[in-house]
């Protein structure tokens, strides 16, 4: 029999105060901007100053988030570390490349270079906890985090690993924001987060965050939910969406009526939110609906925030009012479906079940 996969802990640093696991969006920070940064914990509480001084922001966020997840799972080490990121430590990459240009390819120092690769995060976490096991980074735009979930699920199901630290991280940096403004991928005018979906403007509110989880073969007291299935699709037309979701659910012997809560990656981009509308206005019209990018902002691994939200809902039987998309409630969100896409590409479906 195939091994089950449990989400045994969570850790998150985001544009909301999520770095402490004992609360669940009790206080909502309302943002009014076109880009939003994370609410940072006091990094000195988690990272020795000597180590922190060379860490890029993405590594600091990930260190806190992964440490929170490991602590909650009661683990000091894991069999594997798998991290998804769209851009890696892009701030250091940009600074390193700028230094090459500014100094005419002379005087290059090692610190920025060390951290400028996409796999710096998984490497730094491994160094921090002394993990010599499988260490992998997935760089696959908005499906980076889900790619990690697929890998972790297979590793556990094939008994390659018992406990895996899985995460997603992306940081907000000036040059990346500038280029995305130029191509109109970021909103031109600020929007209040609670009014994101009614702004009816193009582009997203760009942000950053780090979300880590321990996936394990065994259920324990800290378990949030069971991870049932993950599927990614690089491209998917609107016409294909409903049938694709139906087939995904059928693979797990479910239909749309069996879904108690659907968690959607609406980001307020008037040109692409129609994908979500197709599900909320038809297949899941009578299902409890949640959204989260008005809380987290958009980035390649923002779906990690959705996964964090869904895990919390599964464990607490509570969907915070700020994340409710419709008026339908469910007392026991037993089966939760997450759907995300970015600009009509990199679609993902993730299925969780209470346990």
């Amino acid at each position: 029999m195939t091994k089950r996969v449990y989400i045994n802990s969570v850790g998150s640093v985001s544009a909301q105060k999520t770095f402490e696991n004992d609360s669940f969006l009790d206080e909502i920070t309302v943002h009014y901007d076109t880009t939003i940064s994370v609410i940072s914990p006091n990094y000195k509480d988690y990272i020795p100053p000597a180590a922190a001084r060379r860490m890029a922001k993405g590594i600091k966020m990930s260190t806190v988030s992964s440490k929170t997840a490991l602590d909650e799972a009661g683990l000091e080490n894991v069999d594997a570390i798998i991290v998804g990121t769209g851009l890696g430590c892009i701030d250091d990459s940009e600074k390193f490349i700028s230094a090459i240009i500014d100094n005419k390819e002379q005087f290059l120092t090692p610190t920025r270079f060390i951290q400028s690769s996409h796999n710096s995060v998984s490497g730094q976490i491994a160094l921090g906890i002394g993990c010599k096991g499988y260490n992998y980074s997935y760089v696959h735009s908005a499906a980076s985090f889900e790619s990690c979930l697929i890998d972790a699920m297979m590793q556990i199901q094939l008994e390659e690993a018992k406990n895996i630290l899985v995460g997603g991280v992306d940081e907000l940096v000036a040059h990346h924001v500038d280029t995305h403004r130029l191509i109109d991928h970021i909103k031109k005018t600020p929007v209040e987060s609670s009014k994101l979906l009614t702004s009816k403007t193009a582009g997203c509110v760009m942000a950053e965050g780090a979300h880590f989880f321990v996936l394990s073969e065994k259920k324990q007291a800290s378990t949030y939910a069971e991870l049932i299935g993950v599927r990614t699709y690089n491209t998917l037309s609107k016409e294909q969406l409903a049938q694709t979701v139906t087939e995904f659910l059928r693979e797990h012997e479910l239909n749309s009526d069996a879904i108690d809560l659907v968690v959607l990656g609406y980001n307020g981009d008037v040109n692409f939110d129609a994908y979500y509308d197709l599900l909320t206005q038809d297949m899941f019209l009578n299902t409890a609906q949640a959204y989260y990018k008005h809380l987290s902002g958009e980035y390649d691994t923002a779906s990690g925030f959705g996964f964090w939200l869904a895990s919390k809902v599964a464990r607490t039987n509570t969907l915070p009012a700020a994340a409710r998309l419709n008026q339908i409630t469910t007392a026991t969100p037993r089966t939760i479906l997450l759907y995300n896409q970015y600009r009509g590409e990199y679609h993902s479906l993730v299925l969780l079940r209470q346990c």
Partner: protein, 85 residues
Amino acid sequence: MTDLKLELKEKIIEQLNLEDVSITEIGDNDPLFGEGLGLDSIDALELIVMLDKDYGIKLADPKEGKKIFESVETMATYITSKKAN
């Protein structure tokens, strides 16, 4: 020489990201490596590049670095002597 030492302290703090250290906390003769500021081998590379980039001094023999980077005082003395030549 005093100005140079002050400048070196500012550069060390900025380039090595010593966020929690102020200029007044670095004594002229405090060891930079080990017990003092606790710098490591990567910092040593950063300091070598700093000497080259900001003062035009190339370390011909990397072994020299151990003595030159002992403290801000030794760095300033070395830079001053190189400039005098």
